[in-house]
Amino acid sequence: MAQETLSGWVRKLQAREISSRELTQLYLDRIERLDPQLNSFITVTAEQALAQADAADARLAKGEQSPLLGVPVAQKDIFCTEGVRTSCGSRMLDPFVSPYNATVVERMNAAGAVMLGKTNMDEFAMGSSNETSFYGPVRNPWDTERVPGGSSGGSAAAVGARLVPGATGTDTGGSIRQPAAFCGITGLKPTYGRVSRYGMIAFASSLDQGGPMAATAEDCGRMLNAMAGFDERDSTSVERPAEDFTAGLEQDLKGLRIGLPTEFFGEAGLDERVRGVIDAAIEVLKGRGAEVREVGLPNSHLSVPAYYVVAPAECSSNLARFDGVRYGYRCENPEDLMDLYTRSRGEGFGDEVKRRIMVGTYVLSAGYYDAYYLKAQKVRRIIADDFCRAFEDVDVLLAPTTPELPFALGAKADPVSMYLSDIYTIAANLAGLPAMSLPAGEIDGLPVGLQLIGNYFDEARLLGVAHQYQQETDWHARVPAAFA
C-alpha cells in the first residue's frame, strides 16, 4: 500500500478510492511501527493530522480539487508550525512552541495537505549527516548503520522508508539534495527566492531555500506548486507570476543540451562506482534524444571554501537572536545578564553550531572583513559567472549529487571532511540556481543520486528531464526491504 506515490494518492483521493482519514491512519501506523528504527520524526501530530484529514474529506466530498487535498506530508522541524513545537533540531528551541505558521506551512495547509509531524534534522540545518541533532541521529533506511545525509535527513529517511509520501526540506549547501541521494528519493532546491523564507528558521539567509522531497519528480512538482509563490513577508521573495511546475513533465528530451561539468567528474574524491552509475544514467538520457557535451566550471573548486566563510558569517548574525530572554532555552540561575546570554547559548547550542557561529564571528570581526567575507563574496560572483557562461551553450547541467555512498555513523569526525561531502552541491546555492537530486542506481544495496542543475527559474524543465528519466527507470520506485 505505502508504495504508492504522493501523486498517486492525490488521484485515488480525488476518485474517492480511499479517504484522507484512512490514508492518514495508514501512515501514522507505519510511523509508530517503523520509525523507532530510524528516528526520523521529532514530533508526531496524530490528533491534529486526523482532524485535518476529516476536514479534507469534507472538502473532497464537495468535489474540491486542491493540489494536495487530503494527502499526508511532513514538515522539516525548521518550519514554524503554530501550536506545535518547532525545535530546529536544537536544545535551544526544544521548549519553543511557535505562535505562528511559516508561509510554506500556511500554503500547504491551504492546499489541503495533512501534516503528520515534524521531521528530525541537523541542528539549525548545520550538518551533512543528521548526527548533530539534539534529538539523536537519524538512520538511513537502506542500512541503519549508515547516515541518511543532512541536514534534511529526517525528511529524506521518512520518505525513503515510505513513512510519509512527501516532506519539506531546506537546502543551504545541499541539505535537500545530499540526503535525497543517500535515501534514494527525489528532492528539489528551487531558485533562490521561489519559496518564502518567512517562518523558516534562518541559517544563512542569502543561501537558504525550501523545497520538496518525495519519491518522484512529478510529486516534487505537485508539492512545489503549493509551496512556491511571492510572499511580501520575505524581503528576498521573487515577484513572478504563479507557474505550474508540472507543465514540463511530458516534454520529450529530443535536442535537449546537457552539460557535464568537467570539474565534477575529475575530482580525486569521486567514487568510481558512483561515476559508473552516472555514466549509465547519461546513456538513458541520450537514448531519449538528449545531446551531451562537456562544459567548464573552472572556479567550482572554490565553492566549499567560499561557502564556509559566507554561511558561517550569516549564521553568526542570524543566531545572535537566541539570547535566553524572549523565547527558547534559558540557563538555570544566571548570575548577571552576560552570564544569562553566554550560558544560555553555551548550553543551548551544540558543538557544530558553536563552531560555525565562531567562524562567522571571526570573519566579520574588525580587521578581518575584507580578508574573508568580502573576498568570499567576490569568489561567489566568479562561481555564479561560470554557470552563466555554461548556460549559454547547454540547457541543464548533470553531475553526481555526492562523491561517495552514504557513510557510516561516526565516520566523519573532523569538520572539514564532513564539509567536503557537499562538494558537488554547494556551487548551486552560491549561484542561487535550482538543482535537484534523483535516484539513478544502487551499489551494494545503497542508493546513488544524480544531480541536475538548471538555469534561474527553470525548475519546470529540470522536473521534466527527471520525469522522463523516471519513465525509463525504476530506481525511484525502490523501497528498502525492511520498509517495503
Partner: protein, 95 residues
C-alpha cells in the same frame, strides 16, 4: 592559519558562548582546520570583481509605511522563559 586557545576565548566571548578550558582546546583544533581550508580563497582571480551579496542581485523591496501586524504581545510573551506584568525578566542590570 592556526587558532590558539586565547584566540578561541576571544572569539567565544564575542559570540557570547560560555566555554570551559577543555572545550576551548577542542575548538582550537577544528577552527584551525577550517581557517586553513578557507585559505584556498587566496588563490582566486578576483581582481576588480564586484562582491555578490544576493544571487539575483535584487534590491531591497520597500513597502508603504503602514501598520500591517496586529498586537500579539500576549502570544509572544506566553513562550518567554520569564515574564512578569507584561515585561521580560532578566537578572538585575543596575544595582
Amino acid at each position: 592559519m592556526s587558532v590558539d586557545t586565547s584566540e578561541v576565548r576571544r572569539i567565544a566571548h564575542l559570540s557570547r558562548l560560555a566555554m570551559n578550558d577543555d572545550q576551548t582546546r577542542d575548538f582550537a583544533g577544528g577552527l584551525s582546520d577550517i581557517f586553513a581550508f578557507v585559505e584556498q580563497l587566496n588563490g582566486a582571480a578576483i581582481e576588480g570583481v564586484e562582491p555578490m551579496a544576493h544571487p539575483l542581485d535584487a534590491e531591497q523591496r520597500l513597502r508603504p509605511d503602514a501598520v500591517t501586524e496586529p498586537d500579539q504581545r500576549e502570544a509572544y510573551q506566553a513562550i518567554a522563559p520569564a515574564v512578569e506584568g507584561g515585561l521580560y525578566l532578566v537578572p538585575r542590570v543596575i544595582e
